[in-house]
């Protein structure tokens, strides 16, 4: 019997696996679907009485380097991030593959097929191939826990970074997980001077590359023997018209569908380590099946690595969708088609289940919106009001939802609000045009990758207004603390870094701080900032719009609630609904007026100044 049990999130099972693997140091930058791994690493360390170090780093590259250095001095370490975060850490990953660590080092990159909460559907397994490091692709939370341990072992044995690539359904799937108390695992830090390795010049890099290729060949053999992760269910002498090769969550779905429809007649090859691909196993499987369909997320790595194009079906043959998540109903459709094409009965068959045309109901689209009481709302409202024709560059975070208020035109990646604004300025300036540009970026995103762009903008003489939306937290990903607040990942106090100091340090001459809730003040300051950015002596003007996130700290954000009501003056111009877009204000079709939803209203009172007719009024305090 195991002592402990929890209905555990996949990300938490990964944290558990890391601790069981002896991981002492961990670093991360939050991003869906990876955000829960680091907090859980800390929680379980405390629960189990393990001495570990964990930090929220300022970005993924920083997290990678901090964790990797622990592996250089012999410890076992890990970093975690979402798939686009791995792009930020790519420089480090590529180089570290050549030199490897002395201890163990696992990079956890969480992919988001769908995508549900990301800019791209990129496949981190391809990054593993580019960097030439092994990658594990778990199917379930329990397997993710087992694989992260195996990944740490491979990493320690071969002195190579190893990637664990869970997809969102593993990260945010739950299952009962059992475990026993975890013994303390400690390796003393020991930096062995070896400049030819740790500071390898190109001449040595060639040698290291050769070593890396040798390691990969050995690892390929080793992975082929890991039967719990890579295995098939071929009968001893069986020949089959069709076989399924499946990796990650797709494997679990196929297995469930075969059980549901009672189909033991088609064999499955489960691939848990897509790179290096266990080719012996694959070739054996191919030799016994007339055709094979490959089901993998999110791109076609295994298909490419197999290289056979006549009998292998998948994305390249057009049998598997090239975009979107491979949810069970999609996999079922793919299987039905290839079963029929292979002369087999389909699993379910078209028409076995009636489908309703949901689009015929014309249901309203419920898109994500800024929360009632969100401090970003008045700032976007003011930006739009003060300069409706400006170009609005923005960034990654809750505030991307400023798009609903017509105050976000671009969202490229972390930090691009500033760099795109810079490029827009120079392009227009080249044509002799002056167009107002207002960039918005969150506090955590600014610390992540704002400074390099801001330094560049100042240095090269760009002109625009930068509004830093400082809600004193990393809200979108689940309220992780920021360097600005100075609370560390484990809740203890670190050293807060004032945004003002950083901004002045970047050479900014115009810096004003406003309270986001004070709409008049925000508008006046924006006007001043716009004027400055366009004046002869001007440059980049920075406005810090500061107010606590209403979800993270309701008490601090709102304090005393006010109760508001919309009076008869309302002529339903729609401004409060379209340009302010508070979820608590809706159109009352009975009275033909805007109305307040009392259940949703946060009582922030910001809307009082929004109505041109003055129809939104206080009707007394709402109390606690």
């Amino acid at each position: 019997m195991h002592i402990r049990q929890e209905f555990m999130l996949g990300n938490k099972a990964i944290a558990l696996g890391l601790l069981e693997a002896g991981c002492e140091v961990m670093a991360s930058y939050p991003g869906t679907p990876s955000s829960e791994i680091l907090p859980e690493f800390i929680r379980l360390s405390k629960l189990e009485g393990l001495k570990t170090y964990a930090e929220w780093s300022t970005n993924e590259k920083v997290a990678f380097d901090v964790a990797f250095s622990a592996a250089i001095v012999g410890k076992r370490a890990a970093c975690s991030m979402k798939q686009v975060g791995l792009n930020v850490a790519m420089d480090s990953l590529m180089s570290s593959a050549y030199i490897g660590g002395e201890g163990g080092f696992v990079v956890i990159s969480c992919d988001d097929p769908g995508p549900h909460s990301s800019q791209t559907e990129q496949d981190s397994r391809f990054v593993a191939r580019i960097a030439k490091v092994p990658v594990f692709d778990p199917a379930t939370p329990q397997e993710a826990r087992d694989m992260v341990k195996a990944a740490m072992e491979i990493s320690s044995e071969f002195k190579i970074p190893v990637i664990l690539r869970p997809t969102i359904r593993v990260c945010h799937g739950r299952e009962p997980i059992h475990w026993d108390p975890i013994p303390n695992f400690k390796v003393d830090s020991q930096f062995k001077k070896d400049p030819n390795r740790w500071a390898a010049t190109p001449r040595f890099r060639y040698v290291l590359h050769k070593e890396l290729n040798k390691k990969l060949a050995d690892i390929q053999t080793k992975l082929g023997e890991l039967v719990s992760f890579n295995r098939h269910n071929l009968a001893v002498f069986g020949q089959y018209p069709l076989g399924v090769i499946a990796s990650g969550v797709c494997w679990a779905v196929v297995k469930d569908l075969f059980e549901e429809f009672d189909r033991g007649d088609v064999p499955i090859l489960k691939i848990g380590t897509p790179f290096p691909l266990p080719q012996d196993l694959v070739q054996e499987f191919l030799s016994r099946c007339s055709r094979v369909v490959v089901l993998e997320e999110t791109d076609c790595l295994i298909e490419y690595l197999i290289g056979e194009r006549n009998k292998v079906l998948g994305r390249l043959s057009g049998h598997v969708p090239k975009e979107g998540e491979l949810v069970p109903e999609v996999i079922l459709r793919v299987l039905d088609r290839v079963f029929v094409e292979s002369g087999l009965e389909p699993l379910s068959g078209e028409g076995s289940h009636a489908k309703f045309d949901i689009s015929s109901l014309k249901l309203p689209i419920r898109k994500p919106r800024l929360c009632p009481g969100c401090p970003h709302r008045p700032v976007f409202f003011a930006i739009r009001r003060m300069s409706p024709k400006a170009i609005f560059t923005s960034d990654i975070g809750c505030y991307t939802l400023g798009i609903n208020l017509g105050a976000v035109d671009t969202c490229l990646n972390m930090g691009a609000a500033i760099t795109l604004a810079t490029g827009f300025y120079h392009s227009h300036h080249l044509d002799g045009k002056q167009r107002p540009i207002i960039a918005t970026i969150g506090d955590s995103t600014f610390f992540h990758s704002g400074t390099a762009g801001l330094l560049n903008a100042v240095y090269n003489g760009a002109r625009f207004v930068l509004v830093i939306l400082d809600n004193e937290t990393t809200a979108m990903t689940g309220m992780q603390p920021t360097p600005g607040v100075g609370i560390k990942a484990d809740g203890s106090r670190g050293n807060p870094i004032a945004l003002e100091d950083v901004i002045r340090g970047c050479g900014i001459k115009f810096l004003k701080v406003v309270d986001s809730y004070q709409l008049d003040q925000v508008m006046d300051t924006l006007k001043e900032a716009l004027n400055y950015s366009q004046s002869e002596e001007g440059g980049v003007a920075v406005v810090i719009a500061r107010h606590a996130c209403v979800i993270a700290n309701r008490q601090k954000a709102i304090g005393k609630k006010v109760s508001v009501e919309i009076g008869e003056e309302c002529n339903f111009c729609g401004l409060c609904i379209e340009r302010f877009e508070c979820p608590a204000i809706f159109e009352d079709t009975d009275t033909n007026r805007a109305k307040i939803n009392r259940v949703l209203c946060a009582g922030c009172g910001v809307c009082l100044k929004v109505c041109p007719e003055g129809a939104i009024k206080i009707v007394g305090g709402m109390g606690e």
């Binding site: 955000s35 469930d256 949901i358």
Partner: protein, 189 residues
């Protein structure tokens, strides 16, 4: 063959408490001796948008319910229930928080009848409001569903789960709400 897997799809809007609802059902099923898998929505979609969760009770390998495979569609919002209609399996059950007297709307009735789907509309928010705890609307809906008696989960087990994880400040009222909703579901079931 007796039933060995129960597939539940939960829907609603971000912030309504779908994660909590899923957690209560899953913990209760585990205490009843079942293996359970769940799938949750985090991140961007949580900010007031359409949200969906999956719970699968029984020996399954993956966490997502397939379209046409749900035994229960449990929805905190009527519109979100319609949006997810195609998850419903033949002879399944749809349980929705709604105060709409004309629920379910005309256009979907033919489909529901054709598949033999049992439909339950329940004003969970109204009941939660009457107890002064509108945020516990999710708990009311769970209580009602358990009362219907379709899932292999006993009321006492759900109650003990809620006692274990409920917010202490409103626990008494939460349990009263749960009981009341359960009785109402039982009268319907």
């Amino acid at each position: 063959m007796s039933k060995s897997v129960w597939n539940i799809v939960l829907s609603g809007l971000g912030g309504q408490g779908i994660l909590f609802m899923a957690r209560v059902l899953a913990e209760a099923a585990i205490r009843e001796g079942y293996f359970v898998r769940g799938a949750e929505t985090h991140g961007m979609a949580q900010r007031g948008g359409s949200v969906i969760g999956h719970i699968r009770i029984g020996e399954v390998g993956s966490s997502l319910v397939r379209e046409g495979g749900a035994d229960v569609l449990l929805s905190l919002d009527e519109i979100e229930a319609y949006r997810n209609l195609n998850y419903l399996a033949p002879s399944s059950l749809m349980c929705v928080n709604t105060s709409n007297k004309k629920f379910p709307r005309e256009e979907v009735r033919g489909f529901l009848e054709e598949l033999g789907i049992k439909v339950y509309g329940f004003d969970a928010l109204g009941l939660a409001l009457s107890k002064g705890i509108p945020q516990s609307v999710n708990l009311a809906l769970v209580g009602y569903l358990i009362g219907i008696g379709f899932l292999p989960i006993r009321y006492e087990v759900v109650r003990s789960v809620v006692e274990g994880i409920g917010k202490s400040r409103f626990l008494e009222r939460d349990l009263e709400l749960l009981e009341h909703a359960y009785q109402m579901g039982k009268d319907q079931g």
